[in-house]
Symmetry: C2
Subunit: 358 residues, 2 copies
DNA sequence: GCGATTAACTCTAGCGCTAACTGTAAGCGC
DNA sequence: GCGCTTACAGTTAGCGCTAGAGTTAATCGC
């Protein structure tokens, strides 16, 4: 049997309400009484039933977070940043993974809404905006992170994926790449914008990105490594092999580097590789991986700030959009290859300029 | 305003109870009525208030999980395995991180208990058993994972850390190491047992582990890499440098390998390195890392099985203990070095046998 | 000494839902 | 027609707690 307020009240011969007030530091209770109650609470090991409390107050002090994959360091870091920040204000984070499955995500969202959380944060894996658009939120504030959906009335916190693509392109060009390719991400805001930023930055320097230099893969996070391996093989099969590749994320990049090396190619001499995400082990892999840092934990803390604003100040009904600027972390996988190209196994190829790129 | 049962009932001119029954597929409701109710539910976008439901039923269909660190792939995988398995039975996982802080963990536990979850799973970072021993659980079942606490009346699921230490030792000896060292983990069951297993297995082959071959580090998970770097430097400073090292976990091992190489040493020729955890990127790092696999996701699924047993079958009051056998994953960082030793930079050293080891 | 204020407690109602019981009418066998 | 069951609805009570109004006695100003 769990102890409840009635037990405390009965034992002390006071009313339940007095106990309730004492526990919430209500001024209606005398110091003597408060102390007696607290003593009894300790003695009996009483713990307020937050379910009951939240039923009557309408607030749960819980914030929900749904991400596509908790194993992915990006989301894990976002979760950590968010959790730390909200906890300092008495909120508690409830996390869940959608396993990159839109239907599962929908169930999770419904479930969380049914639990009447105070706010919900989603890195949504929906392939279109239908579910989110039709969602009946009641009065639960919803914050989208990482993946943006146009024309939806939700707050958003994420990084500037267009800039990420641009940074990658500029960097590859700066180190001497002339035939950069892109292993693109999914058809969501992140994948689309990274591609767009990449393409635009190349175009600016009069380099066109041919269709077959844009590779699609099925899996990007879970199973991303294998996708990288496959993608590299497809790169090899091209008439003109690229001399640099911007991978949608670091997991794919790891696969690309691994396969490139096992095929006897050198990174970055034969192929420069840059990823995105700046995972914590990027520096430790066979060829330390250049990457675009998305400031993941900051996404968490900024989201927390936004939520706390909404929950305290009811005035923050206005739609907020927080876009963090990514930055480049250059490592060995894109060390300047210009001087090396002549000695490359692909030296023959490097002299040819891709028709479309002229 | 959120819709509630009263709204549905009023709109249809039926009683609240009928609505409640219809939604829970109670046989008391006719098919016609059930359909009318479901239609109205859809129309109004009604979602049952699970807070209220759980207040009256006493069950929340929520299972809590507290881990020291969500970024650590081991716990992330446990979480994933657990989440997937319980979800199939209508339970929902609520996760939280203690950030390896015993006090924070205590708060989280109290908080979760206050929310009346149906069960709680903890990979506890408590440094002693006081908190857990004194904990008033009410009737919430508690399952400890990964880190074991002796003489506490809780269920346990984890891997056999003693066997992990033993496997590591046997492997290092098998590949020809004669002076194996150990970078040990914290003073919890995991750290202690891995050390014990390691020591015992060495002893069995008449190899003694001198005190200065057992290194302590402060941080093992977050900041574990740096610990590995530091530990390697301390190894270098020893009178007799070890020729192999078993690291408490892979993060530390990564630090060791990185520093070893940047100091001009070869892995495994000069120093064989084996970690523990078998992280997903072990194969991708500069020297693919041998590791002891702890079957992390299985820990998750076995925990789920245990919980579901407890929650359905009230008879499972008997204390359960599930110990999974780890297994060795050998990679380049421990490739047989016997033949290489002669050519090693440390060749001179390899011929000397450590005094204590004779 | 009287109304007004204040401190400290209690009472009442209800958050949204469900378990357990109580009708009620129809259907059945005999 | 009688008792019995069955199908389907409603009534009652209460999960554990809190907001807000009510009560009581002490204190205060004048």
């Amino acid at each position: 049997m769990t102890v409840n307020m009635k037990d405390i009240a009965r034992d002390l011969g006071v009313s339940i309400v007095t106990v309730s007030k004492a526990l919430r530091d209500h001024p209606d209770v005398s110091d003597t009484m408060r102390e007696r109650i607290h003593l009894k609470v300790k003695e009996l090991g009483y713990r307020p039933n937050l379910t009951a409390r939240s039923l009557v107050t309408g607030r749960s002090s819980l914030i929900g977070l749904i991400v596509p994959d908790l194993i992915h360091p990006f989301f894990a870091e976002v979760a950590k940043g968010l959790s730390l920040a909200v906890r300092q204000h008495g909120y508690f984070l409830v996390m869940s993974s959608s396993e990159e499955d839109p239907l599962l995500e929908q169930q999770e969202v419904e479930h969380m809404l049914a639990h009447r959380l105070d706010a919900m944060v989603i890195a949504s894996c929906q392939t279109n905006d239908e579910f989110l658009r039709k969602l009946r939120l009641g009065d639960t504030p919803l914050i989208l992170i990482d993946r943006f959906f146009k024309d939806l009335p939700f707050h958003f916190v994420g990084s500037d994926d267009y800039a990420a693509g641009r940074l990658a392109a500029e960097h590859l060009l700066a180190i001497g790449c002339r035939r950069p390719a892109h292993i693109r991400g999914p058809e969501n805001s992140v994948g689309i914008r990274r591609l767009k930023g990449f393409t635009d930055a190349l175009k600016k320097q009069n380099i066109d990105l041919p269709e077959d230099y844009i590779l699609r893969v099925l899996k990007v996070d879970v199973g991303g490594r294998t996708s990288g391996v496959d993608a590299f093989r497809r790169l090899m099969d091209l008439a003109y092999m690229p001399d640099g590749v911007f991978c949608y994320n670091d997991v794919i990049a790891v696969g690309v580097i691994g396969e490139a090396r096992s095929q006897g190619m050198r990174v970055p001499e034969d192929l420069a590789v840059i990823g995105c995400g700046n995972l914590h082990y990027d520096n430790e892999i066979s060829v330390p991986l250049s990457s675009i840092d998305q400031r993941s934990s900051e996404i968490g803390s900024r989201t927390a700030k936004l939520i706390l604003g909404i929950l305290t100040d009811k005035g923050t009904a206005v739609q907020q959009r927080v876009i963090l600027k990514p930055h480049l972390i250059a490592r060995a996988s894109t060390e300047s290859t210009k001087s090396n190209f002549a000695h490359s196994k692909l030296a023959g190829h490097t002299k040819r300029i891709h028709a479309k790129n002229v």
